[in-house]
């Protein structure tokens, strides 16, 4: 790499009673948007706090543009964090909030006013300078927090669950906002989230975390199309997961046997995983076979169906007892199977992926 990464974590470990973060090494290149994706308890917030300087790692180093800053306190680091609870100053106006960091740095009042005004314009909060914080809506508060951090032109902006706790409309609006700011200001951003949609739509690169360890690093497309294992697959929405009885390698396709049926699969990337393979499918790619159609899998007994607006979720069971959930279109033309009825399903022309099985959630 030509220039050092804006942030690099070098074998970082954090241990409380148990290790929360284990031997994490990652890099955030200058100008990129990297997301750490993981369920709650995976250690993603811990990583953010270690980078921000609010926690000291048990072992490992944190480098900003190649310089080791592991020992520096939060106020001496060239990064700014927007925590989930924002921490806007309730006794200050919008403008005072945004100017705070400049004032602490001893920037003169004229420059302070100019930068604050510019940044408020960027986040579309002109005219709100003198408003007290408690008069703002949730979305406006988020934008004040963004402006307050970005006005300092941080080497890296850290976002802690930036869109969690907002309603859907606001979430979409702010997602666009963050994306726009990232492009316009060329800011380097590291976000943590448990929401795969957020991660997929915002990031250049995603790091999937599980129990303090990195499961996969890749572009959103790589993560979504080629998840490294069953855990990552489930996390990015491959909810239809089956455990095959046996797997045979072939020349073009591989074959897996599920409930007595032979299924053609994509060849796996990794060979001979420790816990065997699972067969994964996107639940929206499955449909119910017509009576005369050659099916890919069946018979399945329908346990229940649930109307989800755009789709109907079908919960079914194979003859070997494995459960399979999938989605069928809720269009009026598609018949919803009755509970207890027997169906066959189709997913051709796509082929299921064979992925290494992940151990049961810790």
């Amino acid at each position: 790499m030509s220039s050092p990464a804006a942030i690099a974590l070098d074998h970082v470990t954090k241990v409380y009673d148990k290790p929360v973060v284990s031997d994490i090494s990652l890099e955030v290149p200058e100008g990129s948007f990297v997301t750490v994706l993981g369920p709650s308890g995976s250690g993603k917030s811990t990583i953010l706090q270690i980078i921000g300087g609010f926690l000291q790692p048990t072992a490992g180093r944190i480098l900003f543009a190649g310089t080791d800053m592991t020992a520096l306190p939060p106020n001496k680091r060239p990064c700014n964090t927007i925590f989930q609870d924002l921490g806007l100053f309730p006794h200050m106006t919008v403008a005072e909030n945004v100017a705070y960091g400049l004032k602490v740095r001893g920037v003169d009042p004229a420059t302070r006013r100019k930068c604050t005004a510019e940044m408020l314009a960027i986040v579309a909060l002109e005219g709100y300078e003198r408003r007290p914080i408690h008069q703002l809506s949730g979305g406006q508060r988020q934008r004040v927090a963004l402006a307050r951090a970005l006005v300092l032109d941080p080497a890296v902006l850290l976002l802690d669950e930036p869109l969690t706790g907002l309603d859907e409309r606001l979430r979409q609006q702010l997602r666009g906002e963050i994306s726009r700011l990232h492009r316009r200001l060329g800011a380097t951003i590291l976000a943590v989230t448990h929401n795969q949609d957020e991660a997929l739509s915002l990031s250049d690169r995603i790091i999937v975390l599980r129990a303090g360890r990195i499961e996969q690093i890749g572009t959103p497309r790589e993560i979504f199309e080629r998840p490294a294992n069953a855990f990552v697959a489930r996390f990015v929405g491959f909810d239809a997961i089956l455990k095959p009885e046996c797997v045979d390698s072939g020349i073009a396709d591989w074959h897996a046997r599920v409930a007595g049926r032979d299924i053609r699969c994509e060849p796996p990337v990794s060979r001979d995983p420790a816990n065997g393979y699972v067969l994964v499918l996107r639940p929206e790619r499955i449909r119910i076979a017509h009576p005369k159609e050659r099916s890919d899998l069946g018979p399945l007994t329908v346990i229940s169906t649930a109307y989800k607006g755009r789709d109907v979720e079908v919960e079914s069971r194979l003859v070997d007892g494995q459960a399979l959930k999938f989605l069928i279109s809720a269009d009026s033309g598609v018949a919803v199977p009755a509970s207890g009825s027997s169906i066959e399903i189709v997913w051709e022309p796509i082929k299921p992926l064979l992925l290494p099985d992940a151990l049961v959630e810790p």
Partner: protein, 299 residues
Amino acid sequence: MPREPGPDESAGAGLRPAGFLLALPSLAVFVGVGFIPLALIATWSFWSFDPDTYWIKPAWSFASYAALLDNGRATVFLRTAGLAALTATASTLLAVPAAAVVGLLSGPRRAALLLALFTIPFFTSGLVRAFAWRLVLGRQGVINNALMSLGIVETPVEWLLFSDFAVLMGMVAAYLPFAIVPIVLAFARIEHSVIRASQDLGAGFWTVLATIVLPLVLPGIVAGFLFVFVAAVGTSMEVQLLGGAGASSISIMIDDVLRVVNFPLAFAIATVVVTVLTVLIIIANRALRLSRLFESLGI
């Protein structure tokens, strides 16, 4: 993130008939034991008093108010206010660090324990506590004995007891918890995310203290000061038990005037004190929204 009510929501929807009925019991208590007695006192302070016959006539007069500053009463007013201000200042200065430990640095369990410890002195009567200071500060008291046996002084230090210093000690000890409670509430209202955010934006320890913590705790400090000040203005016990010869206070003065049955004058003094204190509290509340401190208690 809990959404704070907007300006229109918090302004209150006014009392609807059902709300009025529900508020009636507390309103009745407030009017019965608060407003009516005060109104009577204020009214009677304008009646006339004949010192020869001890007759209180329902004839409007400002004579009592004219007599307020006679016979050295002005000095008593000023001394009482001064001593109360000194007590409130000392109590507040002591209360801020104590409250910071309770409200900012302790978890809920330890905070509850520490608050309980602060209230234990109230298990004994104030009279006993004031008297106890005599045993500490007296000529044969704990401090003088210690100083003499250590050879620091030859004869007992006289100004320890029966002095303004003794009164101050007694009052600070008695009213310190009044200052601690509102300041604890103010500290407890500071969200840690706010402090973390200011550190993140580049503020070191002292900057956080000066720009975030102090402004947010200021309403609590003013409320604590006022609580102690109001209590100290109204006290007589510490002055009587620990004060020097001729020491007086507004309460003692009222008591003296009541002894000669000059009710209008006593009521006039009381009315002035209540008015001044009320105005002080209203101004402070307007300026700093002190009432918000107690919102977290659900009052």
